[in-house]
Amino acid sequence: MMNPPALSVHDVTMEFEAHVRVLQHVNLDVPQGQTLVLIGESGSGKTTLLRMFNGLNHPTSGEIHLHGESIRIKDPIELRRHVGYVQQDGGLLPHWTVEENVSLVPVLLGWNPEKRTSRVHELLDMVNLDPTRYRTRYPIELSGGQRQRVAVARALAADPSIVLLDEPFGALDSITRRNLQRQFLELKRQLQKTLVMVTHDVDEAIRLGDRIAVLKDGRLLQIGSPAELLNAPAHDYVAQLLGHRSRGDHP
C-alpha cells in the first residue's frame, strides 16, 4: 500500500495516575474511505480512544497519525476544524438555528456568507431535511432524529477527510435508529469518507462497519471485518459478544 492509512494508532497507552490504565498498547489502522466501528462495554476505553483522534484526549505514550502525520505536532484547534465530530445527543448549540449550527466550522474557517449559505442548503438536502423549512428552526423545535441529522450535516460542513461519531444513534428509538442507519449507509457510499464510530450495539456495528475493533478493559481484543469476527473470533469475549448473532437471527 503506497498511501498511508487515513488513521493509524501505534502502541497507544493512556493511564490516570500510576495504576489506572484506560488504554493499553492499542495498535490499529483505518484505510482511506473505510468505516471502523469501535465496540465494547462502558469502561472499555472506546470513547477515550475516539477522542484522541481529534486531540480531546492525549495518549500517555504511543503515537497517532492522521494521513501519515503525527497529531502531536498539530495545533489541536486547527486539527479539530478538519475532523468531523458527531456525539450521542447531537450537541447542537441550543441558542443557534439549524443554519447557524451547520455553519459552525465554516464560520471558524472564515468562509464568506454566500459560500456558507449554499453549503448549508447542500448539506441539509443531503441529510434529507428541507432547507426552507428547517434552516431557521432551533434545535428544540426538531425531533431527536432530525437533530441527529443536523449534527451529521454540521460534522460534514467543511468537508473533513475523516469523521468521528460517538454513539451517534444511541439516544434514538429503534425505528428512527434503523432509518438513520439506512441513510448513513447511503451517505457513506456517496461520500467515501473515512469514518470512525463508537457504539455498544452489535447490530449497528455489523450493519455499518467495514471493520470492527473490539475493546475490553482498555485492550484491543480483535480487529477485522464483521465476517472475520463472526467466523473466527480470536477471543472468548469476542465470540460471546457476537455469539447470539452467529447462532441466531441471521441465517
Binding site: R81, Q87, P94, T97, Y138
Partner: protein
C-alpha cells in the same frame, strides 16, 4: 495561547474595579476652613451637635459640615478617633463606661477628671467644659400605678418591685451601669422584664402594660406623662454630663473653636433640656429651629428675628409625602446612587470572579463559601466595621453594600457557566472552537439569564440594605426611616420605607425585563413550530 486571550478582559475588569476604588482613600477629616460635626442618632444629641454647628458658623469664619444621626456611641467615637468628624456631643458616663470600659462611678467630678485625662492621653481627644446638665438614667413609675404612700427613691421601690413588670431599653438591659448593676446595688427584682424600644416604652407605660421603665432625665416626654422619677439615693447611676468631645488636632488648628464652644459652659440645665427635647419629640419641630431658639435665648446669636413656627405634625401620609416631596426626591436619588454604584461595582468584580472561579474548580467552592460568609454579617455591624478604615459617609456605605452584592452574582455566574449546556460546550470544543470562542459564543449567552438573575437578586438586596446607610451618614431613604424610628413617627418611617419598597420593585422589574431580553432564543420552543 487561548488562555491569554481569555484572561485579558478579566484582568481589565478587575483593574477597572480597583482603579475606581483607589482614589477613595479614607476621608481626610476637614478640608481647609471646614469642620465636621457629628452626632449620635437620637434627638438630644443631634440638637447639641446642631447648636455647636450654628454657634461655630455664627462666631467663626469656619464652615461646618453636619454628619448627624450616626449609629450610636461606637460609630461616633470611631469616626472622631479616625478623623472622619472633628467634634460631637458626648456624655461623661458613656465615655467612662462604654469607651474606657471602666466601672461606673457615682461622682461627677471624678468621672469628668478621669475621662479628660484618659482621652487626652490615649487619643488626644478633648472634653470641653460640660454644658450644665446630665442626661442620666433613672427609673420612673407612672403615678397611677403607685401605692398610697408613694416611693421616693430606688430603695423604696426595691420593697415592692417583685410584683412589677418592667419595660427597659435593650442598651439598659445590657450595660453594666444599667440593669445588671442596679439589681445588685438595690436588690431590685421584677416579676418580668420586657425589652422595648425607647420611644415605645412611654406609650406602653401610659397604657398600663408596664409598671416601671428606664428614662433619660432630660427626656421631653417627662413633661407630658405623669411619671414619678425615683431618686438614685445610693448614687448608683454614673453621671452623664453632656459636653463637646473634640479632636486635639482640630483645637490646635482652629483654636477659636475652643473659645466659641466655651460660651456653652453650664448654659443649659435639665429643665431647659427637657423643654427643648419636648419641642423636638412631641412638637415635631426641626433640630435647626430648636437649636437656633436655644442659642437666641442665650443671646449667643445675633438675633435675626426668626419666627419659629412649630412644624405641624402631619399624620396624613399623603400630605406628608407631598410636603416633603423635594427632600424625599433628593433622598431617593441618593438612595439610587448608593445602590447603583454598589451594584455596578459588584458586577464589575463578581462576574469576572465567577468566570475565573469556573476555570479553577478546586478553589471555587471555598472562595464562594467565603464570600457567602459576608452575607451572614449583620449589615449594621458590617457598616460599623467600615468606619475605622474608611470613615463615615458615602464611601464606607458603598463598600459595605458592594460586599453584600458580590455573593449572588459570583454564585450565579459560577454555577450558570458550569451548568450551561455541557453537551453543546463539548461539541463546540470538538469542532474546533477556541476556549475564548466557547466562552463568548456558547457559555456566556447560555448562562446570561442565570447571571442576570443573580444581578437581580443583588439589586433588590442592595436597594433594601441601602436604607441602613443612613446610620453612617450616607443619606438615602434610610434617613426618614431612622429618624421616624427614634420619634416613633409612623408617617415618617413610611415616607422612607414606601419609596424604598417601590424602588426595590422597580429595580426588580427592570432587571427582570433585561433578564428576559437577554435570554437567548431557542431555549424555549416557539408555539407555532413544534
Amino acid at each position: 495561547m487561548s488562555r491569554c486571550v481569555r484572561m485579558r478582559p478579566l484582568g481589565l475588569a478587575v483593574g477597572l474595579a480597583f482603579a475606581l476604588l483607589i482614589p477613595w482613600t479614607p476621608p481626610a477629616s476637614s478640608e481647609e476652613g471646614r469642620l465636621v460635626v457629628g452626632s449620635k442618632n437620637f434627638m438630644e444629641n443631634k440638637l447639641l451637635a446642631e447648636i455647636f454647628a450654628q454657634l461655630i458658623e455664627a462666631r467663626t469664619d469656619l464652615s461646618v459640615k453636619r454628619q448627624l444621626g450616626l449609629a450610636g456611641t461606637q460609630v461616633c467615637f470611631e469616626a472622631l478617633r479616625t478623623g472622619a468628624i472633628d467634634l460631637y456631643p458626648e456624655y461623661t458616663g458613656t465615655g467612662l463606661v462604654s469607651i474606657l470600659r471602666q466601672p461606673p462611678t457615682g461622682d461627677s467630678r471624678t468621672a469628668l477628671t478621669t475621662v479628660r485625662s484618659e482621652f487626652l492621653r490615649r487619643w488626644d481627644l478633648w472634653w470641653l467644659n460640660p454644658l450644665g446638665f446630665e442626661n442620666a438614667y433613672a427609673l420612673a413609675v407612672p403615678r397611677d400605678r403607685l401605692p398610697a404612700d408613694p416611693p421616693r427613691t430606688l430603695s423604696d421601690l426595691a420593697a415592692f418591685s417583685a410584683s412589677l413588670t418592667a419595660g427597659f431599653g435593650y442598651e439598659f438591659i445590657q450595660r453594666p451601669d444599667g440593669l445588671p448593676g442596679l439589681k445588685t446595688r438595690y436588690g431590685l427584682t421584677f416579676q418580668r422584664v420586657q425589652a422595648m424600644q425607647q420611644s415605645l416604652k412611654y406609650q406602653a407605660a401610659a397604657a398600663g402594660e408596664i409598671d416601671v421603665l428606664d428614662v433619660y432625665t432630660t427626656d421631653g416626654r417627662l413633661f407630658v406623662y405623669d411619671f414619678v422619677v425615683l431618686e438614685d439615693d445610693q448614687r448608683f447611676f454614673p453621671p452623664y454630663e453632656a459636653a463637646g468631645l473634640i479632636r486635639g488636632a482640630t483645637l490646635k488648628r482652629y483654636p477659636e473653636v475652643g473659645s466659641v464652644l466655651g460660651l456653652l459652659s453650664n448654659a443649659f440645665d435639665a429643665r431647659i433640656m427637657r423643654q427643648l427635647n419636648y419641642r423636638l419629640q412631641e412638637g415635631g419641630e426641626s433640630v435647626e429651629v430648636v437649636a437656633r431658639d436655644a442659642l437666641s435665648a442665650l443671646n449667643l446669636l445675633a438675633s435675626e428675628n426668626s419666627p419659629s413656627q412649630p412644624a405641624s405634625k402631619d399624620n396624613e401620609l399623603f400630605a406628608y409625602l407631598w410636603s416633603h416631596g423635594s427632600t424625599l426626591m433628593q433622598q431617593t436619588i441618593e438612595h439610587l446612587f448608593l445602590a447603583g454604584l454598589a451594584l455596578g461595582l459588584g458586577i464589575l468584580l463578581a462576574v469576572p470572579l465567577g468566570l475565573l472561579l469556573e476555570r479553577r474548580q478546586t478553589v471555587a467552592e471555598p472562595v464562594i463559601r467565603g464570600i457567602g460568609l459576608t452575607q451572614t454579617i449583620p449589615s449594621i455591624a458590617l457598616l460599623a466595621f467600615m468606619i475605622p478604615v474608611f470613615g463615615i459617609g458615602v464611601l464606607p456605605a458603598v463598600i459595605a453594600l458592594w460586599i453584600y452584592a458580590l455573593f449572588p452574582i459570583v454564585r450565579n455566574t459560577y454555577s450558570g457557566l458550569r451548568d450551561a449546556a455541557p453537551d453543546a460546550v463539548e461539541s463546540a470544543r470538538a469542532l474546533g472552537m477556541t476556549e475564548w470562542q466557547i466562552l463568548s459564543w456558547v457559555r456566556l449567552p447560555l448562562a446570561a439569564p442565570i447571571i442576570m438573575a443573580g444581578i437581580r437578586t443583588a439589586g433588590v438586596i442592595t436597594v433594601g440594605t441601602t436604607t441602613l446607610a443612613a446610620f453612617i451618614g450616607a443619606g438615602g431613604l434610610g434617613v426618614p426611616i431612622v429618624s421616624g424610628l427614634q420619634m416613633a413617627d409612623t408617617t415618617m418611617i413610611l415616607s422612607g420605607a414606601l419609596p424604598a419598597a417601590a424602588l426595590a420593585l422597580v429595580i426588580d422589574g427592570t432587571l427582570g425585563m433585561i433578564e428576559r431580553g437577554i435570554r437567548p432564543r431557542g431555549l424555549h420552543a416557539r408555539p407555532d413550530r413544534t
